[in-house]
Structure formats: C-alpha cells, structure tokens
Symmetry: C2
Subunit: 193 residues, 2 copies
DNA sequence: ATAGAATCGGAGAGCATTCTCCGTTTGTCG
DNA sequence: CGACAAACGGAGAATGCTCTCCGATTCTAT
C-alpha cells in the first residue's frame, strides 16, 4: 500500500498543471503511436524529464491505465445502458459497431483490445472481465430474439471484435475496421433460410 | 553485395547438419512462440552458441525469412492453382479458410500475416504484393459470379483474413480463427434478397 | 522577502536484445 | 596421422528500454 490513502494533501498548483499536461500528451501519443511507445518518448514530447513523469505515475503501466481505462469503462457503461433496449438485435450490432468505430481512431485502444500485445490493465482489475460480460449479455439477448446466429459464443464475438480492430493498426489507418465490422456483423446474423 | 554469389563452395558436412537443425528448431520455436522470440533463445534451444547461428543466418530477419517464406509461397501457389477452378466462389472461400486453418497452428505466421507487428520480409521482396495479388484474383472471380458481395475490395478481404488470425494469438490458441473464418465468410457473401 | 517543503531534471543503474570478434575446437584431405 | 581451413562458442559491444536517485529549482505560507 502506498502513502496516498484516499484524499492525500492537495497537489501543488504547478504539479497539478504538469500532471494534466502529461496526461494530455500521453493521450495523443498513445492514440497515434499505440502501446509500444516508450515512456521516455512521452516525457520528451511533454517537455518534462522522465523523473517528473514518474513522480506522477509510478509506472508506465499506471500512466497508460490512467489514459485508457476511462475509455473502456465507457464502452462497458454503454453496454449496460443498452441491456434493456427494445430491439436486442439493434442494440448488439449498434454497440459492436460503435466500439469498433471509436476504438479505430486510437492505436493504443486497438492494441489493447486486440490484446496478444501487452495489456496495460492490472491483473487484479476486473475490467477485461466486465467488458466481456457486457458483450456477453448483449449477445445473449440478441440471440434470444433470433437476431444473431445461435452457435456464436461470447468468446467468438470478442474475437470478431478484436479482429476488426486489427485492420486499423500500423501505417494503414484508413477506416478498414469500420468496413470490416459491416461484413462481420452480417456474418453474425443467422443464415437466411 | 555479399561474397557468396550463386553456388559458393559446399558447406562442410557438420555445418550442413547444424544449419538444418537450426532451421528445424527455429521452425518449432516460431510456431509456438511467434515472431517475438529472441535470437538467443532459438540458439539456446538448438544447443548452439549465438555465433554459430549467426554464421548461418546473417540476421534475425534472415533466419525468420528462411523459416516462413516457404509457407507463404505455398499459399500463393495454392491461389494460383485455383485461379481457373470451376466454381469461383468455392475456390475463394476454400482458399480463405485453408489459409486461416494452416496459419492458425503457427504463431509466427499469425503474427506475420496480421502484420502491424514486425514483418520479417525484406522491403525489396514482392512476396507481400504477390500474396495480395493472388487473393485479389480469387476474389475478383468470385465476385464476377456473384458469390461474394461486390463492394468488397481486396484490401478489405486481406483485413478480414488478418482479423481471423488474431483470434489465434497469445495464450488463447483454441481454434477461434477457424470459427471466425466461418462467420467472416458468411459475411462476405452477398446479402440474400 | 525568505525558509522550507514540494517538485523537477536527467544521469545512470539494471536488464534485455541484436550482432561482432576472435581464441578454441573439429572436420577433411593428402 | 597431421596440418590447415572451416566452423564453433560465448564474452562483450552497442543500443534501447524502464525505473531510481538526489542535487537543483520553484512554489507557497508567513
């Protein structure tokens, strides 16, 4: 356990400003360069020494988490909001497409969701589980009304989601993920008889 | 330019054996651990010093290429063989599924095809282009007979292929790629009217 | 203004990775 | 068998990354 339990003493004004700036630059850097960007590079872009950045975030992982967790939490929240939507099929496909679209503008988010590459979420965190659970609920409801083929597992749907995001990685960021999502969503529908 | 133009002097018998062993171990290591495995680790697994391995392959990239190029060339050859198949739709979907299935047992192949992560093919090589072209031809023919929706580009199909392979990466290698390919192939079919 | 605490900066420790160098060992040919 | 070229082994140079440490600097409260 650290030493800043609950609300520690307030940060000095300049420190608060600097922390904010680091967060903002890190946000940009992660969006454009992905999870592989180095800590030094972020400090450099923000115009601080690495020591300063480490003062605010004890670890590279912690910084990345601070930038990215909110985004993913929002996805989970969106899914919860849709959990009782009228049209279960629309809810599932809409959420799926929305996640792909929003994540596709953000390298780091793609890297993270596609996983396989490092996942900057602490082992203890239930976030990955929450995300999967949220998707699972939306999927189950959509299947119950026959909007999605019944043999699709939640794991499959997650794979499909990750797969779409891959199109947006590296140099080729040109909207491929959204086009993929269209095809993939079609594929998830029950085969018309 | 190196110094081994054309057929240099034949390797000493033990050297040839060792080279073969390195290739074989590297093959296994790449299949199970992917492109991120270190050169030292391969040397260790093969039971050689790194110097020895470097004697045979001037660079990490060269070794990986020696192991993987053949695999990809075979995919390209398969595509060529199917270029005049009777059922163009069957040819395209069959090839697509076959590539996914074969690559899915091989971490390195997944890493490489999905790209975004390092591509161990020399810039000069036309292999990536050849692969894309082969897929493009199969796709075009399938579209001409109405087996694949017309608005799909070759780039899209490549993204979709890469996307399927992502399911097989990291710890979770459990056949997800093949299941994904099924859904994705369905999605590529024209929307039934 | 000034003392004292909070914050900053960046050199460098520690580690992993690719690749080089050269003394030592081993195969091959007469 | 013996000599010489070929091949081996692994220490270590060079690079790049995360993270630590502490003297120098800047803020803030009085």
């Amino acid at each position: 356990m650290g030493d800043d339990h609950g609300a520690a003493r307030p940060l000095r004004a300049d420190a608060r400003r600097n922390r904010e700036r680091v967060l903002q630059i890190a946000q940009q850097a992660l969006a454009s360069d992905g999870l592989t960007i180095s800590f030094d590079e972020i400090a450099r872009r923000a115009g601080f020494g690495v020591g300063t950045v480490y003062r605010h975030f004890p670890t590279k992982e912690a910084l990345f988490e601070a930038v990215l967790l909110g985004r993913i939490e929002r996805f989970v929240a969106d899914a919860r909001a849709l959990a009782t939507a009228e049209d279960a099929g629309r809810a599932f496909f809409g959420w799926f497409a929305a996640v792909v679209e929003q994540a596709s503008g953000n390298q780091a988010l793609c890297d993270m969701l596609d996983s396989g590459t490092a996942m900057p979420v602490r082992p203890g965190s239930t976030l990955a589980r929450d995300f999967a659970a949220a998707l699972g609920r939306l999927l189950a409801r959509a299947q119950r009304v026959g909007a999605v083929r019944a043999d699709l597992t939640a794991e499959d749907a997650l794979d499909l989601l990750r797969g779409c995001l891959v199109a947006e990685r590296g140099a080729r960021a040109r909207g491929g993920a959204v086009r993929m999502a269209d095809v993939v969503c079609d594929g998830m529908r029950p085969r018309s008889l």
